[in-house]
């Protein structure tokens, strides 16, 4: 009986809302707290430094100090990257933050002594601090979490930053006028020390929890190296451009904002501290609400690529308003939207864009992008402002012309970045193909050649045969005489392989050796290869050597030569046909090799009724090598009357491969018959299991449709073969071979079965003392894996095949980082109808989320063990039914006795036997242990 889902505890609801999972809470909360304190310190210091600077200097000096900030940041980053190579990220963050706190104490003392120029110094220093601290937190976060985790937890971490901004703003607004702007430096110092303490806690266990996140294993970073890395990657180049333009536009708007504030407050430092505090505080509150309620959802709905467009679009509006009305409210609107979105959805989107990049590359370039590129943009903004204000005499509103131009380019780059993100995810899951043939060729040309020569002289025939096989990839260094000897080798297998080498590599000068080979070798295929070689060696149109062979005393060789000539020029050699038919006819009463040769030669003759009749006779031969040879000739003559006979040969393991090939040669004309046999559940399973492969070999639209129509098959082996066949057809498909909606329906059905099986698995006990229950769990687990394999095979029919199969490969690879990137890729790639269902199926099967997804998506409820066993007994899978019978008897489930007794009469021998055993045990009360 299905049981109703449990009522969720408020804490569980909270956990579900934020989607934070086992083991993620601690690092997430620590990072959120660190970001909160870091941003609170930044906002507090910005309000302080802005007001101190603007109360002492005019707004037109701002571009100069911004340029100084850029220069200092470049210096600091260089030193910082070198130190990160030595100390590792975790330790460097905590130590550098202690150093920054000490700096703040020093500035406080300098301010108390009222030394001139200190406000400008503090302004520049705060510029560096505001870049360094948030970047440190996000770098740590990127090392701790993988792609999928990042997508869920980054928004919560970002919320910490927004709370910090609100807190910092309020601190500046309320405490600033009371204790003085200078004393806020001490408040900020306390906050930075808190950040350092958290960085210390985060160091070691969390950082090393994720594969590839060990900083000690990352390659050494330098500015030059980082720049090279960015230049070589198209994706990183586009990210760089986006960051540059974003910062450039933000700095221009920031200047407009500060200039308007200066005009409003003139030299009133306390008023400005209070205003900046309020402004940053309210913006942070708005930003926090937006981020908490909408950021994560926006990222899920539209993805990070599209979410990156929100900030430029809002700035486009804000800057447009400033152009026409340079008032305080317009400035607040422009700067407010910049601050609100930049530190919420834009930051979270940007951080996600880094995640598909490997940890080593990310560490190398992230600092460079965050600090050097952003500061270069600041420098560029300062230069533009100096030119606009100093040379062109632009007023505050007119600066918007510059800003709007920059934002326009930024929108274009952000759209390009959206495309690059999906492409990078795709690349990150692509398998590197190795060409084995190329490897073998290289090997054959290398020093291995001398080793090969030695092996060719070995007395071990198997070794020689293998070595001859290698010669196909290069015969450099092997002497003519050695190959000639191989063509006349006592072992037929070696002779044939040597002939293949000579023919496929087109080695010249072996005419006499090939003639000797033709006399020795009875096989038609090998002789055909030899004859083709002779044809290639002769002058065009002069086949005298082969004509001479038609007069050979060896009747088989003469017949093969005649067939070859007839095949090459039917008009010229038409007289050979009657002789050949006579030869084949006479061979019918000969020994097996003679019949075999005759059966194969028919396939090289022009199509005729006489030939077809002879072939039909050989197809009924009592010897399987003869029938196999006849099957090879079917492709040429296609005797219509024999389709049923050949179809029956699919059951014979000796003839199966040749029969499949022969049936495929008929093409679409046999599709109705094959489909009827496939759809007939009472037909022989051994035959039915071969038919999908024949359909795949025939290929095309009709074969694909018939295979899709057969997917309601209950025999899971036949079903697996159907899906494999579809996969093979899909490999060479044209884009419209499969109807998307139909395949999507099949995928949804498959997903429903998948979730049902997962729920059944969870219902069966995993007590180690119950061998039968454990065996059933194992069987169910295998079915679930198979089901996932089928789902991806179906996905590969309507999405790029390689991408889907690679994604599946990484998902089952057992490596968390690859799995995470593959899931993220699917998240971006799949259409909305399938996305949620497929991603839910990829959740950890042991988690509570599986129950939730099964219930929400398909209305499947959790079950008790007896209900699960009852369900399994009623499936159409005899193997699962057998396992359920055994487990039910072992668990003493007497309620299921009747159902099990019915199965004892099954036509499946294993199920009947197991059900009988289970019935006996339930009747006697023994569980068989």
């Amino acid at each position: 009986m299905p049981t109703s889902p449990p009522v969720l505890h408020p804490r569980q609801r909270l956990r579900r809302y934020f989607d934070i999972r086992e083991g993620e809470w601690r690092p997430t909360l620590l990072l959120a707290a660190q970001l909160m304190m870091g941003i609170a310190a930044v906002i507090c210091l910005k309000a302080t430094s802005d007001s101190l600077f603007l109360s002492k200097f005019p707004a037109s000096r701002l571009p100069w100090v911004d340029l100084a900030v850029t220069g200092l940041v470049g210096l600091v980053v260089g030193v910082y990257l070198r130190l990160s190579n030595r100390l590792g990220q975790g330790r460097l963050v905590s130590l550098s933050q202690v150093f920054l706190a000490a700096n703040l104490l020093l500035f406080w003392l300098l301010m108390r002594w009222e030394l001139p120029g200190v406000p400008a110094l503090v302004y520049i220093w705060v510029g560096v601090f505001a870049v360094l601290v948030p970047s440190q937190v996000w770098t740590l976060a990127g090392l701790v979490f993988d792609t999928r985790q990042a997508k869920r937890v980054f928004s919560l971490i970002g919320s910490g930053g927004l709370v910090g901004a609100a807190l910092g703003g309020q601190l500046a607004s309320i405490a600033g006028p009371r204790i003085g702007a200078e004393s806020l430096l001490l408040v900020a110092m306390a906050l930075v020390l808190g950040c350092a303490a958290i960085a210390f806690c985060l160091d070691s266990p969390c950082l090393l929890a994720r594969p590839g996140a060990d900083p000690s294993k990352e390659s050494k970073a330098s500015l030059g190296e980082s720049f090279r890395q960015v230049r070589e990657s198209r994706y990183l180049t586009v990210i760089t451009a986006a960051i540059f333009l974003s910062t450039l536009a933000g700095t221009l708007v920031k200047y407009q904002f500060k200039a308007v504030v200066k005009l409003q407050y003139l030299d009133d430092a306390s008023g400005m501290v209070s205003f900046f505090g309020d402004f940053y505080g309210y913006v942070a509150v708005f930003s926090f609400l937006f981020h908490t309620l909408l950021s994560a959802r926006l990222l899920r709905w539209i993805g990070p690529g599209s979410a990156l467009l929100i900030l430029p679009c809002s700035l486009l509006m804000g800057s447009g308003v400033l152009l026409f009305s340079a008032t305080l409210w317009a400035a607040v609107l422009a700067r407010g939207s910049d601050q609100a979105f930049r530190h919420s959805v834009d930051r979270a989107s940007l951080e996600l864009l880094y995640v598909p990049i490997s940890a080593a590359v990310r560490t190398r370039v992230k600092g460079f992008l965050d600090m050097v590129v952003s500061r270069s943009a600041d420098a560029m903004a300062s230069i533009l402002l100096l030119a606009a204000v100093g040379v062109l005499r632009f007023d505050v509103g007119q600066i918007s012309w510059v800003a709007l131009s920059v934002i326009g380019i930024w929108v274009v780059v952000a759209m390009q970045l959206r495309r690059e993100y999906v492409q990078t995810l795709r690349n990150s899951i692509e398998r590197k193909e190795v060409n084995p043939e190329a490897l073998l060729r290289d090997l054959a040309r290398s020093e291995a050649g001398s080793l090969l020569q030695g092996t060719l002289q070995s007395s071990d025939l198997k070794s020689v045969e293998h070595a001859v096989g290698w010669l196909r990839f290069g015969a450099a260094g092997v002497e003519h005489a050695q190959i000639a000897a191989l063509l006349a080798h006592e072992s037929g297998a070696i002779r044939v392989k040597a002939m293949q080498v000579v023919a496929t590599r087109d080695l010249p000068g072996y005419r006499d050796e090939v003639l000797r080979f033709l006399a020795l070798e009875p096989g038609v295929e090998a002789r055909w290869q030899g004859l083709r070689y002779l044809e290639g060696e002769a002058d065009p149109g002069h086949l005298g050597v082969i004509e001479a062979l038609t007069k050979s005393n060896d009747r088989d060789l003469a017949a093969a030569a005649s067939a070859f000539l007839l095949n090459r020029d039917p008009a010229k050699y038409s007289s050979s046909e009657a002789a050949l038919l006579a030869f084949v006819d006479s061979a019918r009463s000969g020994d097996i090799p003679a019949r075999q040769t005759a059966a194969r030669l028919i396939g090289f003759l022009p199509s005729s009724e006489a030939g077809t009749l002879l072939l039909e006779g050989f197809l009924r031969d009592e010897s399987f090598p003869v029938v196999e040879a006849a099957l090879s000739s079917v492709a040429a003559l296609k005797p219509k009357r024999e389709v049923t006979l050949i179809r029956g040969m699919l059951r014979d393991r000796n003839l199966r491969a040749a029969a499949r090939k022969a049936l495929a040669a008929y093409g679409e004309s046999v599709l109705p018959q094959l489909h009827a046999e496939l759809a007939d559940a009472s037909a022989e399973p051994a035959v039915r299991r071969q038919i999908p492969r024949v359909l795949a070999d025939i290929g095309g639209q009709r074969a694909a449709e018939l295979l899709l129509a057969s997917l309601d098959e209950t025999d899971h082996i036949v079903r697996h073969q159907i899906l494999r066949a579809l996969s093979r057809i899909g490999k060479h498909r044209s884009s419209d071979l499969f109807q998307r909606a139909g395949v999507e329906d099949l995928i949804v059905q498959e997903l429903r079965r998948y979730f049902t099986e997962v729920i059944l698995l969870r219902a069966v006990s995993d007590t180690s003392s119950r061998v039968g229950a454990l065996f059933l769990r194992r069987a169910l687990d295998e079915r679930i894996r198979l089901r996932l394999d089928w789902i991806f095979r179906l996905l590969a029919l309507i999405y790029p095949r390689r991408e889907m199969l690679d994604a599946y490969h990484w998902i089952v690879s057992g490596r968390a980082d690859l799995r995470s990137n593959a899931i993220e890729f699917l998240d971006r790639r799949l259409e909305p109808r399938l996305r949620l269902m497929v991603l839910s199926a990829l959740e950890d099967r042991e988690s509570e989320r599986v129950f939730e997804a099964a219930g929400e998506l398909f209305g499947i409820s959790r079950m008790a063990e007896t209900a699960a066993l009852e369900n399994l007994l009623s499936t159409s899978d005899p193997w699962l039914q057998s396992c359920a019978c055994f487990a039910a008897a072992e668990g003493g489930r007497t309620r299921l006795r009747a159902a099990i007794a019915t199965l004892a009469g099954s036509s499946d021998p294993l199920l009947a036997e197991t059900a009988s055993l289970a019935s006996r045990r339930l009747a006697s009360g023994s569980n068989g242990s």
């Binding site: 039968g772 065996f775 069987a779 057998s882 294993l910 197991t914």
Partner: protein
């Protein structure tokens, strides 16, 4: 010991190292060609230098493996006998003698290869398990520190 059903034989086969890579329904297919036999104490399962025959899985009892008359090791429940000769077409290099009344599953070589021909996925899984083992041995070999002196604890286990 009672005669086991095919299903029970499949459950026993899951413990056999050689079949560790097979799916449960594939184990049932192997179980369907495995015959259950009883051997009395002192009986010879096969002799050294005899042609390859069957693979045995011990259900109950003990079997002694010897070479040139010297006892090499003893095989117990859920272990297999005759692995190498089963696969490599060469005469057996050891003799197998029953030490106490023993129950075994016997898998005939021809039947097994027929099964592999009919079910290619079994061959694939056997290969996967085999390659996994070779890879782990290679990895262990690569990770082991290089030493010129053979370690006294590194004597190879007796081959079966």
């Amino acid at each position: 010991m009672e005669t086991l059903t095919t299903f029970e034989r499949a459950i026993r086969l899951q413990k056999v190292d050689l079949f560790s890579g097979l799916a449960t329904d594939q184990l049932a297919l192997v179980a369907s060609i495995a015959g259950q036999i009883e051997c009395k104490t002192g009986a010879a399962l096969f002799e050294e230098n005899h042609p390859p025959g069957s693979l045995y899985v011990l259900l109950e009892g003990r079997v002694e493996m010897s070479r040139e008359g010297k006892a090499m090791f003893t095989v117990g429940p859920d272990e297999t006998i005759g692995n190498w000769a089963f696969f490599d077409d060469q005469p057996s290099v050891v003799s197998a003698k029953v030490l106490e009344d023993t129950w075994l599953l016997r898998i005939d070589r021809e039947d097994f290869f027929d099964l592999l021909t009919d079910h290619a996925e079994i061959t694939r899984n056997l290969f996967q398990a085999l390659f996994k083992r070779v890879r782990s041995l290679l990895t262990a070999g690569l990770e082991r520190p290089q030493s010129t002196e053979p370690s006294p604890t590194e004597n190879p286990p007796p081959s079966r």
